[in-house]
């Protein structure tokens, strides 16, 4: 079986209007993939930047997969939330990106979006906070049923992911 190691960090985020941000992340794979070691999901710390506007998390990711097929290549899905001084959390954006498929280190910029509600909900969000959220997280990384959503852009999440592949040449896979 071929093996894939994903070793890297969720570095931080820029472009969000709120400043104290954290990120909930998870990895979704197809049926042919098996996670041998590492945690499949997690949540970063809450960062309030003092210099500039980039929130830095430096959250380590270390995953070891074994796979029997190329379908269902791992996707990393992210939810960026902001926390205010009262401890309340508000959604800032959803995003996903595929784990890179060529070995080596990659810098990724993942754009995010957030669902817009009706004009009433948008007004309420501006004054009181809150706002619509997805009921099922799989709309973040799957394309089915996306046509029902009307969304606005959020900021960008920056990741530094390194990929180590093992035995892919035995199966004739070029990447």
């Amino acid at each position: 079986m071929a093996e894939v190691h994903v070793i890297g960090q969720i570095v931080g985020a820029t472009g969000f209007s709120e400043s104290s941000l954290f990120c909930k992340w998870g990895v979704h794979t197809g049926a042919a993939w098996k996670l041998l070691s590492g945690v499949r999901e997690g949540q970063t710390q809450v960062d309030t930047p003092q210099i500039g506007d980039m929130a830095y998390w430096s959250h380590p990711i270390d995953l070891h997969f074994a796979t029997k097929g190329l379908q269902g290549w791992p996707r990393l899905h992210l939810q960026v939330w902001s926390q205010d001084s009262f401890g309340r959390c508000q959604l800032a954006g959803y995003g996903f990106c595929h784990v890179p498929s060529s070995p080596g280190t990659h810098k990724l910029d993942c754009p995010t979006w957030r669902p817009l509600g009706s004009w009433r909900e948008q007004l309420a969000r501006a004054f009181v906070g809150g706002g619509p959220q997805l009921l099922h997280g799989d709309a973040i990384y799957s394309g089915a049923d996306r046509y029902r959503l009307h969304t606005a852009a959020g900021g960008t999440v920056h990741l530094d992911l390194g990929l180590l592949l093992r035995h892919f040449d035995r199966y004739g896979v070029e990447c």
Binding site: H5, I7, G38, Q45, Q50, P60, G104, T105
Partner: protein
């Protein structure tokens, strides 16, 4: 002829903790240590170190230079738990106490070659304003009991931090027998300059 292949690969890392940028703080020193998984063991070199205390230069760069050497070799059977270097930076506060000015961590690069990494440094923050004032006054800021927590992902979801500086590190990486074991680490990563360009003496 049945050739017995290697079961262990080696990772040799050398380099330096080059410099730092902390706009609001001065007279800093740093400590580094390595955090790695259960399948890894250091075979040579030093796993930890404490640098000298450095002050900001008076020119326009305002850089804090340590130029502190790193030299360590690991052996392992599994890339899971790839070593991370954890840095903690300390400095004096207004009253002269030694307080923490930042923690940061980054994985050691795995493609052989020369790599430059600029990492953000963050400090845990108290939740209430009263606690912030008391810790400033008493000189006892919130800090991690074990800096190695910074290299882990679990348990961070309840912490609030403030990012307030950057440290630049330079790594040279050499691996042995990774290709024989079937691992493909990708193209050797030539020096990518991230962040501001600080002039420094490149190793010949």
């Amino acid at each position: 002829m049945a050739a017995v292949g290697p079961s262990v690969f080696l990772l040799m890392v050398n380099g330096q903790v080059e410099s730092a940028q902390f706009p609001e703080h001065d007279d800093l020193y740093c400590k580094y240590c390595f955090v790695y998984g259960h399948d890894w063991a250091p075979t040579a070199g030093l796993e930890e170190g404490i640098s000298q205390i450095t002050s900001k230069s008076h020119d326009v760069r305002h850089s804090l230079v340590w130029n502190f050497p790193i030299d360590v070799t690991f052996k392992s059977t599994n890339p899971f738990g790839w070593p991370q270097i954890v840095l903690s930076v300390y400095g004096p506060d207004v009253f002269g106490n030694d307080v923490v000015r930042g923690y940061g961590a980054v994985h050691v690069p795995f493609s052989p070659g020369r790599h430059k990494r600029t990492i953000p440094m963050f400090v845990p923050e108290s939740t209430s304003t009263l606690q912030k004032f008391t810790s400033w006054f008493m000189g006892r800021r919130p800090e991690y009991t074990d800096p190695k927590v910074v290299a882990q992902g679990e348990g961070r979801e309840v912490t609030r931090v403030r990012s307030q500086g950057f440290v630049t590190l330079l790594f040279n990486v050499v691996t042995k027998d990774m290709r024989k074991l079937g691992y493909d680490t990708g193209p050797a990563d030539m020096l990518r300059v991230e962040g501001q360009g600080l002039t420094h003496g490149l190793p010949q």
